[in-house]
Amino acid sequence: MQFESLLARRYIKTQKRHSLLTVCSIIAALAMMTVLMTCFTTLTSCMASRERDVRPYHIQMIDVPDAAVDKLKSYSHVKEVKVIADYEIEDENGSKTPVHTVNVTLEKGIGDIASYYNKMCEAIGHDDFYGYGRVNINRTLMDYDRIDEDADFHAVISYAGYAIYLIILALILRLVIDTAFEVSSKERERQFGVLQSVGATPNQIRGIIVREGLLLSVIGVPVGIGLGLLLGYGLFRVILYSGIIDAFFTSEEKALSLLHYEIQPVPLIICAAVGFIWVFLSALGTGTRVIRMTPIQAISNRSNTIKKVKKHSVFGLLFGWEGKLASRNARRQPKRFIVTVLSLTLSIAMFGMFSVLVDNFTKALESTIVVFDYIGPMNYDFSFARMEYVGEPFGYQEGYRLLEESPVLTDTDFYFRTSSKTVNDEGVQILYVNEHAWNRLFSADDLEAPMTYAEFEKAGGYVAINGSENALSADKQSAQLRTRCLTAIPEEELAKYTEDELQEMVENDTITRTGGYKRTDSVGSFDLSDDETGNEDIFAKVYCNYTETDRTVKILSCLKSDNILTNNMALNLVAPVSKYENEDQAWFGDMGKTVMMSTRLVSDDDYQAAVQFFKTNSREFTNYEDHFSMMRQIRSVLGAIKIGGTFFIIMFAVIAIINMVNIVSTGILNRKSELASMQCVGMTDGQLYGMTIIECAQFVIIACVAAIVLCALATWGTHVFLHDVLTLEAEEVVRGNVGIFSSVPRILLATGAAFVAALAASVFPLRRMQRETLVDRIRTVE
């Protein structure tokens, strides 16, 4: 056996503590890298699975005739054509053609999707397809499956971002491995000096350290990767069951069939290679540093001579001579001191900041979603519309009654609005509200209800909120409205005119035209992931005769509110719904109205029952917005981010603590003789422990203060960011809940934990050292 290998093995065996710390550093670094690698591949795979489940096609085409389907199947790069719906379409002559909705799956290498698709349409005889809403290209799945050239570009961008992140992380981890090697070799500089003095060449010395590193990495790298895989799997399971399944999937079985912990060999090989290379480079660097010294420098330990110390320090002022000594001791190796404090600061700051920032953004998101409502803060679980259908009497009562009677829903509020004008041609919108909506209108801080809903109903007038004051009388007690009453022209009457004639009548203001919804089978037959509103097929043009009437209406109160989304200068009038039913209904006739309804779950557990209720009664409601589910998904994603983030912070903290333990404990053991000297000239055990505790405290106190500053800056940055990108309400919600120093308790907690670790790292070696006699220790050559 070569003497380098022999010595490397001996050093590993005899210097168990160092070997263990070095292996731990390698394991921690590799585990973290492996977790990150597998997390990325797992996340990508899960997102692709989810996409494949929800939208299982690269291209979806509707109205595809039989012949085109056959041509599609044989078209270049088409992997599969799946017919998912069969129906007929009628042409202008009334003849029917059977057509299909098809899901097309492609193979890689199609080039540019636009030109590919155009050519495909030409080939199948459907050259008017593109851009007419009859095609749905699943860009996301194309990216995951790397179908077109854009996907390659997106993948490069995505991997490049990830690679930059990994490189930064890898460099941090390199520092950890480096520190471990440096600490270990520092203690043996004298031995290396002796070896050189008896004839070992510099290359042999370097060879010993490199072999030692590689031997340790033979244990550290596979264990680190194994640990990383286990931790990654644990993290995957924890995130999976943190609400993701409930939020995104209909059942656990479905989720588990789609989501898998993805272990790919290439990332693991990269991890192992990076691990070995880092260890090799660290060992080589350390070896090179050692052989730069002359043997006598190494033997006399001259590389450790202290040439400069700080005369005054904060710790000296605070803790007296023990503090002064502790401060000088900690800065004997400034590079290591800075690295340790920096890594500790980052892990404490990340711990403190992360949860605060997630809370910040959760609240901001919630509040941002809340403000998207017409009449006030939207704090309901579901909101939807009951549309007016052509040919049916306007009736919100039926839908409202259903909601009121549903055992799983509560607090239903609704309002509907009509558009009108004043006699001066100013725009007017009238909102008819029920009691819940009335109360919601005044739930914002800046608007106080002028009266109760009962008094409102009794008073028999309108409340004006925002809008142009020109629409009101000088005393603001009344408004002059010019209401328009519409009466739909029956179809048989309309049949007498051509489309051009009708258009001309509209332009001449003889008749008017409004919109309405046709009852078809598809209307309202949505599921929770669909939003079919606005579909041209269900929207009808309705021609109406009209009469205009000037009316003076009573204004009960004029209010202003920043919380109401009134983007136009139209006057907003609010009236109780009973006023519409009893009086105003006759003013408007068949004019289009949309009833907006909002409701809450009686209990969160009833979500599925509520979903079932909406499905069962889907003909009564449309334009469905599932705030509950949306918020649950947001919370669940944020929760997963929280769990994942916390995990990485813990990993980061472990690395920082390993670093600190390494440095603190080695610092104590390296100064064995020096500490004994102090005891020889009268230092008591209490003073010795006191000085050591202050030394540990320095690391954590500096890191704590720096972390508080970092967190305060980050929170302030968040506020600035929110101010720029979010609404005023969202920002105020955040400001109201997350102060600049909100993270301080968490930081103090993390600091406490780091202090305990540092204390253990110093007190244990100190106690062990104390077992040796002063004489033995003082004879130790440093």
């Binding site: 202290i306 001579w321 000297s677 102090m678 230092m683 008591t684 055990d685 002063l774 004489v775």
Partner: protein
């Protein structure tokens, strides 16, 4: 008047077959102001004796009385205070604290005692040690002789009952050695400071008032000396 009384002192390392008697029933007394040299071959027990006298190591049996006080009847804390106040230790390799400058190293025992160093006393001592212009220098910035002078200053500064020097010139050249011994002699005479010096160097021993010779942990000779004659010689 005897300052130090060593009575039937034994120090045994190891057990059974490995037992080593570093000190074997050693008894002697040292009067105040005496400069005593302890000589003997390596492993004869000289350094063990010095460490036990300095409160750094504990004897297996026997007593050490300093000013009538039994050193080893004290607990660890009081033993540390004893080292701080009543003895001054000087080592061959100086054992200075690398992060403290010359002045701070000298005053360390007093600072640890919670006392404020007397500036005049410090200035006088630095002058005596010829370190006035090196007072703010770190050990790494001092020569070996200067470092040893700092170490002597640290031992002298608290005016302890006894100074114990373990091969104080062992790491120095002849010029520096002569200066250090002269310094020790001077402080012995000027301050009537009791000193016990362990040395291999016969010339140093001859400059002391008394020479005790050790072999295998036992005193083999104890002779009085006239240092003036040696100095003249």
């Amino acid at each position: 008047m005897e300052l130090l009384k060593i009575d039937h002192l034994c120090k045994i390392y190891g057990k059974g077959e490995n037992e080593v008697r570093a000190l074997d029933d050693v008894s002697f007394t040292v009067p105040k102001g005496q400069m005593l040299a302890v000589i003997g071959p390596s492993g004869s027990g000289k350094s063990t004796l010095l460490h036990i006298l300095g409160g750094v190591d504990r004897p297996t049996s026997g007593t050490v009385l300093l000013d009538g006080q039994d050193v080893y009847k004290q607990n660890n804390k009081n033993l540390a205070i004893f080292r701080r106040r009543q003895v001054g230790l000087i080592y061959q390799f100086y054992n200075l604290i690398p992060v403290l400058n010359a002045e701070e190293n000298i005053t360390l025992p007093m600072i640890m005692d919670g006392r404020k160093p007397d500036q005049k006393q410090l200035d006088d001592l630095l002058k005596l040690l010829e370190l006035s212009d090196r007072r703010k220098h770190l050990p790494s910035q001092l020569s070996g002789g200067q470092q040893q002078r700092v170490s002597i200053g640290r031992a002298l500064f608290t005016s302890p009952g006894v100074i114990l020097a373990d091969e104080p010139t062992g790491n120095l050249d002849s010029k520096n050695s002569a200066e250090i011994i002269a310094l020790l002699r001077k402080s012995n005479r000027e301050f009537n400071q009791t000193m016990i010096i362990i040395t291999h160097d016969e010339n140093i021993a001859l400059q002391c008032d008394r020479i005790i010779s050790f072999s295998d942990g036992k005193i083999v000779s104890d002779t009085m000396n006239t240092p003036a004659a040696a100095e003249e010689a």
